[in-house]
């Protein structure tokens, strides 16, 4: 059982690492600020989600696991709000040279 859970963790975390990589490559390669913002917030949040899911079986208590999920929810909430704010600020800047 432990073996199986460890395997689950490894698969999820590797997948998470892949999305972190995708986010960073997108951040480097995409042509403008909006698409780069898109790469950063979407891919990295998915990466974090997979890392969190992978770590869940490694936690000692239910409370710790719940807090782990809360971390992800908070990051999701704030990056949703912040990415919109950054995109708007960038757009306003384009309009008023």
């Amino acid at each position: 059982m432990d073996r199986l859970l460890d395997l689950f963790s490894i698969v999820a975390i590797v997948a998470g690492g892949f999305f972190f990589m995708a986010g960073s490559v997108g951040l480097l390669r995409f042509p403008d600020a909006y698409t780069r913002l898109h790469a950063l917030t979407k891919a990295d949040n998915l990466g974090l989600a997979l890392v969190v899911i992978g770590l869940l079986p490694q936690m000692d208590s239910v409370l710790a696991a719940l807090k782990l999920v809360l971390v992800w929810l908070l990051v999701l909430l704030s990056s949703a709000a912040v990415s919109q704010l950054i995109a708007r600020a960038a757009r306003r800047r384009e309009r008023t040279p």
Partner: protein, 94 residues
């Protein structure tokens, strides 16, 4: 397992470093403002992985703090942009 978690943390950190290259290169202000967001997600990911490897349960609290406050810095950045766009307001509104 711990070895794997630490390697994963190192990998995520490497990806954050890669992303920081973009933040350093710019060209726009928006790209720079992503610094806090990038470390907000990637840094928290690495932190959680290291914490699980070391077996420090309280690291989750550090991650929660970062999650709460990384947004705070980003919002200050956005406010700064808005401030730069507008002509300085009169200081006395009495």
């Amino acid at each position: 397992m711990d070895e794997f978690l630490l390697s994963a943390a190192a990998f995520v950190l490497l990806m954050v470093a890669l992303g920081l290259l973009r933040v350093a290169r710019g060209p726009g202000y928006a790209d720079r403002m992503m610094a806090a967001q990038l470390l907000g997600t990637g840094g928290i990911g690495a932190l959680l992985l290291v914490g699980a490897a070391v077996g420090e349960a309280a690291v989750v609290d550090v991650a929660l703090t970062l999650a709460l406050l990384a947004a705070f810095t980003s919002i200050a950045f956005v406010k700064f942009m808005a401030h730069k766009d507008r002509p300085p307001t009169s200081e006395d509104d009495a």
